[in-house]
Symmetry: C2
Subunit: 205 residues, 2 copies
DNA sequence: CAAAAATTTTAATGTTAATTAAAATAATCC
DNA sequence: GGATTATTTTAATTAACATTAAAATTTTTG
């Protein structure tokens, strides 16, 4: 998830660009964001962006790829860390939220998937589907191992993913609130999952 | 919520237009939707839309106003119907979901609030905030009356609203699934709210 | 330090879709 | 049915950005 130590200047600058673009898209909307806006955040000229990306469509695509990759990383980590289904579910949400309100910082909300060109769109949709399936698998495993109350995993997945994806709509970088969000949001989202009959009611720290 | 009986041809056509626009925006994204696309769905020419709306920005604004109004209606109805906080919370989600996957739908997902002109943007943001506060008030009342487990009402509200607002991202008008969504989604979203110590565990029908 | 490669800028150009005005058609009203 | 009003179309026009090519600058490398 972190940048490799030998990241080239190109990769670093490109990542800066994607973060700047995500900031703009989330703050000003897609149509409200010109390449000039993104470039300006970086102290560059709009034309300079074309050194990193073929066109605006690809900029969006890269932003979404980055967002998807961060989510995938969170889920992977959760799967490695959590002892049972419930823990994995909780930890996934927690890690993903930490990323979204943290320094990896702004993650682009995927509003404009439909206006990507076909190949890119299919790519993102495929990754998205895989991610959703991954979460549903966590839920299923938790139901199996008794840590999660039986539920409609598809709908539960939709609900949790929706809530996470929507975060950039109401969180705008306030550092004090970030702490609050990391603390509370994952708990709120997974509270309904916990198998009632379990002995412990303590939340994972 | 329903159209008044004496709705003029103008009002009817305008409402059709807003629904067509919502369909396009949700399906093709904002930037992927031209006025021609919207007009085409109605069997009209792009220029005809200007009879109903000053420009594209206002079309978006009207779509969002409509979406907000439908949400407000759902909450109002829930407040009139529910016997306690939990019921009101559940019913609100249920009514809102019914609208979003039902005949009133498609409801435009509010992705492009930031690119609205200032007055319109503030207008929508104000209504949105009011709506969120309304839901938080329901939660608080439920905590008060003992029907809802104490929780961070702000975060819980953010979670529930996010999940609802995201629905158009994964629901695309499949009638069979609509039934499933109405059945399951509200239950999933409110399951975590219910006060554990309550005698009844049956869901409201 | 000089040459080569990488990055950015300047200055046009192009394209797409929004917008407008005037004309044409359709609906309504007396 | 004829006049009036409401709605839609045709046919330009515009403007905002995205995009491009070539030149300039900066960075790296031997």
């Amino acid at each position: 998830m972190a940048m490799p130590a030998e990241a080239t200047r190109f990769q670093l600058q490109r990542d800066r660009m994607l973060r700047a673009a995500a900031t703009c898209f989330n703050r000003k909307g897609y149509s409200g964001t010109s390449l000039k806006d993104v470039a300006h955040q970086l102290g560059l000229t709009d034309a300079a962006l074309y050194y990193y990306v073929r066109n605006k469509e690809e900029l969006v695509y890269q932003c979404y790829l980055r967002a998807a990759e961060l989510g995938r990383g969170a889920m992977e980590l959760a799967n490695e860390t959590g002892a049972n289904g419930f823990e994995r579910a909780y930890l996934y949400v927690r890690y993903h939220v930490e990323i979204m309100v943290g320094d990896a910082g702004p993650v682009a909300i995927m509003s404009e998937i439909p206006s990507l060109k076909t190949a890119h769109r299919n790519d993102i949709l495929k990754i998205s589907r895989q991610h959703s399936l991954g979460f549903e698998a966590i839920l299923s495993s938790g139901i199996q191992d008794g840590s999660i109350e039986p539920c409609d995993v598809r709908m539960t997945g939709n609900a949790v993913m929706g809530a996470i994806n929507w975060i950039p709509k109401w969180f705008h970088g306030d550092a004090a609130m970030a702490k609050q969000v990391i603390e509370k949001f994952p708990e709120v989202l997974t509270r309904g999952l916990k198998r009632a009959s379990n002995f412990s009611s303590g939340q994972i720290e």
